[in-house]
């Protein structure tokens, strides 16, 4: 398998993973992962639980050693380099703030370990705190702050290190929905400002679509697809990626059925490419209607039992039990996959 490459050339401070394999006991977490990330790139790793996303971060950070394979940071092999010599900073999902230290103590922890003079450390801490907007909570303890503030402290602690690579392990997962969207924007702004290579792990596909220059879809310890978010969304390489990205997921019909197609293939169509039209060729009975405010998802069952989801505008008049007609908006937006391998045809 060739390494999944980005468009940019791998320059200094990029990351290269080659044939990375890791098992925990009898559980295989990574099964030969090849991935190259250019300097300054923001890459999002996305996949279901247990797909190996966090394992990749832990291996790059040096918290675990790979069973096989090579890790390069900036063209230098760091596979056996201890964590603190790798110039990487990691933000954990639960933030891992030191509970007995104030925010200032948390931010200056690493600087003190590295025996940075107190004044210089203080300057660095204040600069990072200012960047994340937490200057006024420097003397608070983690348990005296809100989740959002804690999240910022965790980010600031990473920024203070001035690392070559940021590793973000589901940094937004513990925030409530509103804060998550706001912080997502801040995270993008921060990355644009620092333009440091960043790997961001998430299982939230909305985050994956909006946050990265590139999204890498993982499943069962393997890279399924890697590319710009829109490209991966528009041209999924296999049925897994097709079903994983997008909500509701792509309609996948074995044998084509009402979508047209032959045996030996699986035909897919995104819900937004399926239109509710009174003269559409596909007859179906509405099973469920999910009004999401800005849009409505209508789930309908065709005569042959195929269930199709379609996305329409708000305030749809469809009700469960109604008979509707569906039409494929653009036949070019149909996806055809091999029924045996699941790969795109």
């Amino acid at each position: 398998m060739t390494a999944a490459r980005s468009d940019r050339p791998v320059t200094a401070m990029g990351i290269g993973l080659y044939g990375l394999t890791k098992s925990y006991g009898s559980v295989c977490a990574l099964d030969g992962v090849d991935l190259e990330i250019s300097a300054g790139e923001l890459v999002t790793l996305v996949g279901p639980s247990g797909s190996g996303k966090s394992t990749i971060l832990r291996l790059i950070a040096g918290l675990d050693r790979p069973d096989a394979g090579r890790i390069e940071v900036g063209g230098v092999d760091v596979t056996v380099t201890p964590p603190h010599r790798r110039a990487v900073a990691m933000v954990f999902q639960d933030y891992a703030l030191y509970p007995h230290l104030t925010v200032h103590g948390n931010l200056s922890f690493g600087l003190r370990v590295r025996k940075i003079p107190r004044e210089q450390a203080d300057r660095q801490v204040r600069a990072a705190a200012q960047r994340l907007g937490i200057e006024d909570v420097l003397d608070r303890h983690p348990d005296e702050m809100s989740g959002g503030q804690r999240q910022r402290v965790a980010l600031a602690r990473a920024v203070v290190r001035e690392p070559k690579v940021y590793l973000l392990d589901e940094p937004l997962a513990s925030l409530d929905a509103q804060l998550r969207v706001a912080t997502r924007t801040d995270l993008l702004a921060l990355h644009r400002e620092l333009s440091t290579t960043t790997i961001h792990v998430t299982h939230d596909q909305a985050e994956a679509m909006t946050l990265g220059d590139r999204v890498v879809v993982l499943e069962a310890g393997r890279v399924r697809q890697s590319g710009p978010p829109q490209e991966v969304y528009d041209e999924p390489v296999d049925t897994f990626v097709a079903g994983f990205l997008g909500s509701p997921p792509m309609n996948l019909v074995p044998g084509g059925g009402v979508l047209g197609g032959g045996p030996g293939e699986i035909v897919g169509v995104r819900p937004e490419d399926l239109l509710l039209e009174s003269d559409g060729p596909i007859l179906a009975r509405v099973e469920a209607v999910e009004a999401l405010g800005s849009e409505t998802v209508v789930v309908a069952r065709c005569g042959d039992g195929t269930v199709l989801a379609t996305r329409t505008g708000p305030r749809s008049r469809a009700r469960p039990g109604d008979t509707v007609r569906l039409r494929i908006g653009d036949p070019g937006r149909l996806h055809r996959f091999d029924a045996g391998t699941g790969r795109r045809r």
């Binding site: 990691m90 007995h100 370990v113």
Partner: protein, 305 residues
């Protein structure tokens, strides 16, 4: 009408509240009665006896004012006893803490055979004091005891442990270095509650094992360590009674005449029940003084937030 209903509801609420607090007191009663009868009352009686000539044998103790207190001032045995107790607590508490914390942290991490080591550390705690003391009579035996034989391996002639004042005191400290199961368990359990991510975050910052111990583990264990130190001070001032009685009977030269031993001697051997009562108050004062000193240090060093 509605006012009547409101009043009724309010009365009902008051009734419920009274009912609930009555139930609470009901449940507390057995414990409360026991505390009063078995602890508070005897303690008050003890204070009262301290100012009488009670021997423990007669029925009508007479109030004798501060005579017992004056006797304290000229009691050279009490000075020996205080010295023995302070020596013991000064050596025993730090060593027991060191052993409990060291072993607790060592065996908190999963390692092969860990459960056997943990059981082995806890085992001496379930052995009755007297049995452990008898065992230590053998351990400390100058002729065939294993401790002297061990010293012999390093070319040391060994000590006549229980015959010399200092080594006798150290012998008691050594024996009480083994029943540390509770402290060990508390440290082990607390260490296991600490978030592993914190250690990974520290490792990423270049913090090695000793740095992690100093900057993470010990500060985060601090509340528990303070608790254990206070508890061990109280305990250590009292539990040396059994080893002293079995190993040395307070000898040699009053070196192990710890306060509990001296209290027992007066109360039950010299028929000086009232004087013994007064010395228990001394023991309590000594304990309280040491704990206050510890807590002042804790506050001064800002060990706790």
């Amino acid at each position: 009408m509605s006012r009547d209903v409101a009043t009724a509801i309010r009365n009902q609420a008051v009734d419920d509240k009274q009912q609930r607090s009555l139930t609470a007191w009901g449940f507390l009663a057995p414990y409360g009665i026991a505390v009063v009868l078995l602890v508070a009352l005897p303690a008050l009686l003890n204070v009262a006896y301290a100012f009488t000539d009670h021997t423990g044998l007669t029925r009508d103790p007479q109030f004798i004012g501060l005579a017992n207190v004056r006797r304290l001032g000229s009691d050279s045995f009490l000075v020996d006893s205080l010295e023995a107790s302070l020596f013991h607590v000064a050596l025993s508490v730090p060593l027991r803490m060191l052993a409990a914390v060291g072993l607790g942290l060592l065996f908190a991490a999963p390692r092969p055979g860990g459960r056997w080591f943990r059981a082995a550390v806890y085992l001496p705690t379930v052995i009755p004091d007297v049995a452990l003391a008898v065992l230590f009579l053998w351990v400390l035996n100058p002729l065939y005891g294993p401790l002297n034989q061990l010293l012999g391996l390093f070319g040391h002639p060994g000590f006549n442990w229980l015959a010399e004042p200092t080594t006798a005191r150290i012998g008691v400290v050594l024996m009480l270095l083994f029943p540390i199961g509770e402290g060990f368990l508390v440290v082990l359990a607390t260490r296991r509650l600490l978030n592993a991510r914190l250690y990974e975050a520290a490792a990423l910052e270049g913090c090695g094992p000793f740095g992690q111990l100093r900057r993470l583990t010990l500060p985060m264990l601090a509340p528990v360590l303070v608790l254990l130190a206070v508890r061990d001070t109280i305990l250590t001032l009292q539990v040396n009674f059994v080893p002293a009685y079995v190993l040395t009977d307070g000898r040699p030269a009053n070196a192990t005449l710890y306060l509990p031993v001296y209290i027992f001697d007066h109360a039950f051997e010299f028929s000086g029940f009232a004087y013994a009562a007064l010395i228990t108050i001394v023991l309590m004062a000594v304990t309280a003084t040491i704990i206050v000193a510890q807590l002042l240090v804790v506050r001064r060093w800002r060990v706790l937030r």
